[in-house]
C-alpha cells in the first residue's frame, strides 16, 4: 500500500481563491482548487485504502465477494442517472420492469411470497420488518411487546426491534446454537417475534429450525430471518421453507453489490402472503403489460425511504442474478467448501475453533489462548495487514472470546486460502512485541482510537484548535 503524507483538502495550495460573487453568505471556507490537485489528492487517498480487488478480504458476516465490473457499467446510463422518480409511469417502464422482476427473483430464491425493495440496508430492512410485525399485531388487535433474540445475533437486530418499539429479550446460546429450552421459556403471549440468522453468526446451521418455527407458530408469533448469511444456502434451502414469516436480504453481501466503504447497500424485505398487505408503498404492479405504482394499500406501513430504495444498487443485484442464474447454487457450494477448508487448515495450524464441527460459509476462531502471551485478537489482525491481507471481523459474535470471524467467500482460490493459512501459522509463532506493535508497514502505524474518542476532533476546524 502506498504511503503519502497527504494534506487535507484545506491544506492544499489554493488557486483563484478570490471571492467573485456578492451573496448573502459572508464566510464559506471551501477551498478553490485546481482540478488537477483535487484528482491527485483523491488518487493518493485511494492508494491508501484496501479494497476487494486489492486482496483477500475475509470479513466474517460481510460477504466481501468480488464485485463484477459489468455491474458498474450497466448503471452508467442516462436512462437511470437522469431519470426522476416521479416521472410519468409510461416513461419509466424500464425501471419498473426491473423492480418487478427483481422482486419475483428474490421471492423465488427465498421462498417468500412478496418483496419490497425500498429499505436501503440490512438494518433498514430489519426496522421495516419489525414495523410490519407491529402493524400485523395491531390489525388483529393483539398487543405484543417482546422480541426474542439470541445472544449471538448482530447488534442491528436488537437495535431495530427497539426502534420499532419492542422490548428485547436476549436468550443465551447453547453449544453455539439456539437453546431450545431457553427459547421456550422466553416465549409468552407477549412475544411478537423471534429474530434469527440461519446459519447463525458462528456459521453453524440451526438444524432445529423446524421445531423453532413450530414453537413460534404455536405462540402466534412471527419468525424473522436476518438474511445476512444467505450466501450459505442458495439453492439448498430457503427461509420460506424453513418457516420464516419475514426476511431481509443484504444485496451488498449475497448479491455482489459493492460495499462502497460502508454503503450504499440495499436491504429488501420479503414476507409470506398474510403479511403482504403491510409492505411499504408503492408496490409495482402490472396490468395489460404495463407497469404501474400502486399506492392504494390501506394496510401498508407507508414509506420507509424517500422513493423506491437505492435503485442503482438494486439494478446491480438484478444483473448479478441474471449473470449467475440457477448456478447461484454453485456459489454457495464453493463458499461453504472454502470456509470448511480454511477452518481445517487454521485448526491444524494451532488455532482454536469453539464448538468445532462442520460450518457453512463462515467460521469463528477464538484467540483467547494467546492471552497467556499477552496477545489479543486485534494484534493478530493488525499483523495480517503487514502481510497484505485484510483481517477478518474481530470481537464479533460476542459469545466467543477474542473472536476471529472468517468468511472467505466463493471467489477465493485454494492458493489464496493456503497463503492466508500459512501466514496465520507464521504469526502464531512470531515474537510478542512484533505482534503488539503491528502493523509495521502500512501507511500509518497502530492508530490510537482511545485518543480519538477523548479528543473528538471531528473537522478540520477542530484540528486547528488542537
Amino acid at each position: 500500500m502506498a504511503k503519502y503524507d497527504e494534506p487535507l483538502l484545506n491544506e492544499i495550495e489554493k488557486r483563484d481563491d478570490d471571492k467573485i460573487f456578492e451573496v448573502e453568505r459572508e464566510k464559506l471556507n471551501i477551498p478553490n482548487l485546481n482540478e488537477r490537485e483535487v484528482v491527485k489528492h483523491f488518487i493518493h487517498l485511494s492508494q491508501m485504502n484496501y479494497g476487494v480487488d486489492t486482496g483477500f478480504y475475509p470479513l466474517g458476516s460481510c460477504t466481501m465477494k468480488y464485485n463484477y465490473k459489468l455491474m458498474e457499467k450497466v448503471v452508467k446510463n442516462d436512462k437511470i442517472n437522469y431519470v426522476h422518480p416521479l416521472q410519468n409511469e409510461k416513461s419509466v417502464q424500464g425501471c419498473l420492469h426491473i423492480i418487478y422482476e427483481l422482486e419475483k427473483m428474490l421471492c423465488s430464491i427465498t421462498g417468500m411470497d412478496a418483496f419490497s425493495l425500498q429499505p436501503c440496508a440490512g438494518a433498514h430492512g430489519e426496522l421495516t420488518g419489525m414495523l410490519i410485525a407491529k402493524a400485523y399485531f395491531e390489525s388483529i388487535g393483539e398487543e405484543r411487546k417482546e422480541v426474542i433474540i439470541p445472544d449471538s445475533a448482530h447488534g442491528t437486530n436488537p437495535a431495530s426491534a427497539k426502534m420499532a418499539g419492542f422490548e428485547v429479550t436476549e436468550i443465551p446460546s447453547k453449544n453455539g446454537k439456539v437453546d431450545m429450552n431457553a427459547l421456550k421459556n422466553a416465549i409468552s403471549e407477549k412475544t411478537a417475534a423471534f429474530m434469527l440468522t440461519n446459519p447463525n453468526t458462528l456459521g453453524i446451521f440451526e438444524e432445529e429450525i423446524i421445531d423453532i418455527a413450530e414453537e413460534m407458530k404455536k405462540a402466534g408469533a412471527i419468525l424473522y430471518y436476518d438474511g445476512a448469511n444467505m450466501n450459505a444456502i442458495l439453492g439448498k434451502t430457503n427461509p420460506g421453507i424453513m418457516g420464516f414469516d419475514i426476511v431481509h436480504l443484504n444485496l451488498h453481501k449475497t448479491f455482489a453489490t459493492p460495499h462502497g466503504g460502508g454503503g450504499p447497500g440495499a436491504g429488501p424485505v420479503g414476507v409470506k402472503k398474510y403479511l403482504e398487505k403491510f409492505l411499504p408503498v408503492p408496490r409495482v404492479c402490472k396490468k395489460n403489460g404495463d407497469y404501474f405504482f400502486d399506492y392504494n394499500r390501506p394496510y401498508s406501513i407507508g414509506k420507509i425511504s424517500n422513493f423506491y430504495g437505492n435503485f442503482s444498487v438494486l439494478l446491480k443485484a438484478y444483473a448479478y442474478i441474471l449473470l449467475k442464474g440457477r448456478e447461484l447454487e454453485k456459489i454457495t457450494e464453493r463458499a461453504v467448501l472454502n470456509s470448511n477448508y480454511l477452518m481445517e487448515k487454521l485448526r491444524n495450524a494451532g488455532y482454536e475453533v469453539p464448538f468445532y464441527g462442520r460450518r457453512m460459509h463462515e467460521f469463528v476462531l477464538s484467540l483467547s489462548k494467546l492471552r497467556e502471551r499477552g496477545i489479543k485478537a486485534i494484534d493478530v489482525a493488525k499483523r495480517l495487514l503487514d502481510y497484505g491481507f485484510h483481517p477478518p471481523t474481530i470481537y464479533f459474535p460476542l459469545i466467543v472470546e477474542e473472536a476471529f470471524m472468517i468468511e472467505p467467500t466463493e471467489d477465493e482460490s485454494k492458493k489464496t486460502l493456503d497463503e492466508f493459512a500459512d501466514t496465520m501459522k507464521k504469526i502464531l509463532h512470531e515474537d510478542e512485541e512484533i505482534l503488539k506493535n503491528s502493523p509495521h508497514n502500512m501507511p500509518v502505524r497502530r492508530v490510537n482510537e482511545v485518543m480519538a474518542v477523548r479528543n473528538a476532533i471531528l473537522t478540520w476546524n477542530d484540528l486547528k484548535i488542537h
Partner: protein, 431 residues
C-alpha cells in the same frame, strides 16, 4: 476441488449440506440458466430503453433534480479501493477513505455551520426520522413540530420512525407567504423542524423570528437544508439550529430516486446523541496524523438495543461523491451554480406568469416554486407528456391547481422557452 474435499475429509460437496434436514431441502433454484456478460449488458440496455431520461424529455419535477456531475467525480468514486471496501473498521488499511470521510464531515460543517457531522443517513427522510428521535432523547419529551407543507413521502417515513418511540407529530400551518407560522404556542415540544428553502421552494430569512420561536419553546431546532442553497445564503447556525439535515445530492445522480445520502450534522454538545458513523482525527503510535471511526459506543455493534440508532451500512460512497463534487467546484463554483439555479427558476416563473399563471406566495424562492393556473396540474402534465415534456409536481392537497416546479443549471433558456411554449399551447387547446 477434490483435493480440498480430501483435506476436510468429506466425500462430496453434497455432504457439506447434510446438516440441513431433508424436510427443508430444496432441489436447486427455480431460475433460468446464467447468461454471459454481453447478454446481460444487452438485456439491461434494452430494458432501460423503455425509460426516458431528462435529455430525451425535459423534466421540471422538484425534490430531487438533474444536476451536472463533473467527470472527475465519476473517476474518483470509480476507484475500486473506495467502492469495493467495507466500513473502515481497520483504520490502518483504510486511511484513504477515513481521511475523505473526515473531509466530508468538515465540508458539511462549513456549509451548515454545525460542529459535527456523521457519515450519512440513508436519505433526507430517514435523517428527519433520526433527528426527531434525537431531539426527543435530548429533551426527554416526545413532541415534534413539523410544517404542514412537507413532502408527503418524507412525512410518511417520519411517522414510521416516530412510531416505536411514540412520538407525537404536530403539523404547523403556514401563512399567506407560504412560510411556517412562528407564533405557535405548543407545550412540551422536544423539536421543531423547519425547511429552508421549504417544500414550496421558499426562502425563509426571518432569522430572528425563527430563533425566538425555538427559544420560547425551549426546543431543539432541526433545519432541513439544500446544500447548494447554503453556498449563497446564511447557514442554519445563524438562526439557532441544533441539528441540520438534508439531501446530499451533489455529485450523485437521480438514479430513479437513489442512492443519495442523508446529511446529518449537529452542535458539538449533542454529538453523543448523534446516530451513525463518525470519523475523528488522532495519531498513530509514532505521533503521525491518522483517522479512525470514533464515538462508537453510541452504535448498535456495541450498545445493541440501547444504541442511538440501528444504522450500520450507510451511504458512504455517496459522501465521497459529494466531497469530490464540492472539492472540484470549490466555493466559487458552488456559488456560480447556485446563482444559476436561482436565476433559471426565476426566469421560468416569470415566463409562466406571462402566460397566465400566478405565484400564490409573494416570497423569494431558490430553485423550486409553486404556480397556480386555471388548469389542474395532473391534466396539464398528461397533455405535456404527449408533447414530450414532464411537467412539475401537482400539489393540489395544498393549493387548488397548484404545481411545484424544479429548475436547475441543467435547464437552459432554450429548454425553458420550449417548455413554456408547449404549456401555452396546452392552455390554448383546452380553452
Amino acid at each position: 476441488m477434490d483435493e480440498i474435499l480430501d483435506y476436510i475429509g468429506v466425500k462430496s460437496i453434497e455432504n457439506l449440506f447434510s446438516i440441513i434436514p431433508e424436510k427443508i431441502r430444496i432441489a436447486g433454484l427455480n431460475l433460468p440458466d446464467g447468461k454471459n456478460e454481453r447478454e446481460v449488458e444487452m438485456k439491461i440496455k434494452k430494458i432501460l430503453n423503455m425509460n426516458k431520461s431528462f435529455f430525451e424529455m425535459p423534466s421540471f419535477l422538484p425534490i430531487i433534480k438533474p444536476h451536472y456531475v463533473p467527470p472527475a467525480v465519476d473517476e474518483i468514486v470509480g476507484r475500486q479501493e473506495f467502492y469495493t471496501s467495507y466500513t473502515p473498521y481497520q483504520p490502518e488499511a483504510s486511511q484513504g477513505i477515513l481521511q475523505a470521510m473526515f473531509e466530508y464531515q468538515s465540508i458539511i460543517c462549513e456549509l451548515t455551520g454545525m460542529d459535527a457531522s456523521n457519515v450519512s443517513m440513508y436519505d433526507s427522510s430517514t435523517a428527519l426520522g433520526e433527528a426527531s428521535l434525537m431531539a426527543c432523547r435530548i429533551k426527554k419529551r416526545n413532541k415534534i413540530l413539523i410544517p404542514k407543507n412537507v413532502f408527503w413521502h418524507k412525512k410518511s417515513v417520519l411517522y414510521n420512525y416516530a412510531k416505536g418511540a411514540n412520538l407525537k407529530i404536530v403539523e404547523v400551518e403556514y401563512g399567506e407567504d407560504g412560510k411556517i407560522k412562528t407564533d405557535i404556542n405548543e407545550k412540551d415540544v422536544a423539536g421543531i423542524y423547519i425547511e429552508n428553502p421549504n417544500f414550496f421552494g421558499i426562502i425563509d430569512d426571518r432569522y430572528d423570528e425563527i430563533e425566538e420561536m425555538k427559544e420560547n419553546m425551549d426546543a431543539i431546532l432541526i433545519v432541513g437544508v439544500d446544500p447548494l442553497y447554503l453556498s449563497i445564503f446564511n447557514p442554519p447556525s445563524y438562526y439557532g439550529a441544533d441539528i441540520v439535515i438534508g439531501e446530499g445530492y451533489l455529485g450523485n445522480y437521480m438514479n430513479f430516486g437513489g442512492p443519495s445520502l442523508g446529511i446529518f450534522a449537529c452542535k458539538k454538545e449533542f454529538i453523543r446523541q448523534m446516530p451513525g458513523k463518525i470519523v475523528g482525527a488522532t495519531t498513530d503510535i509514532n505521533g503521525k496524523r491518522a483517522f479512525c471511526m470514533t464515538l462508537q459506543t453510541r452504535e448498535q455493534h456495541i450498545r445493541r438495543g440501547k444504541a442511538t440508532s440501528n444504522i450500520c451500512s450507510n451511504q458512504a460512497l455517496c459522501c465521497i461523491a459529494f466531497l469530490a463534487y464540492v472539492s472540484i467546484m470549490g466555493r466559487n463554483g458552488l456559488q456560480r451554480v447556485a446563482i444559476e439555479n436561482m436565476k433559471n427558476a426565476k426566469y421560468m416563473a416569470d415566463r409562466l406568469q406571462k402566460i397566465g399563471f400566478r405565484l400564490p406566495f409573494n416570497s423569494k424562492f431558490f430553485n423550486e416554486f409553486v404556480v397556480v393556473g386555471n388548469i389542474d396540474g395532473k391534466k396539464l402534465n398528461e397533455k405535456l407528456f404527449e408533447k414530450n415534456i414532464q411537467g412539475g409536481l401537482p400539489v393540489n392537497e395544498y393549493l387548488k391547481n397548484g404545481i411545484l416546479f424544479g429548475v436547475t443549471e441543467m435547464h437552459s433558456k432554450e429548454i425553458i422557452d420550449y417548455a413554456v411554449e408547449k404549456i401555452k399551447d396546452v392552455m390554448e387547446e383546452i380553452q
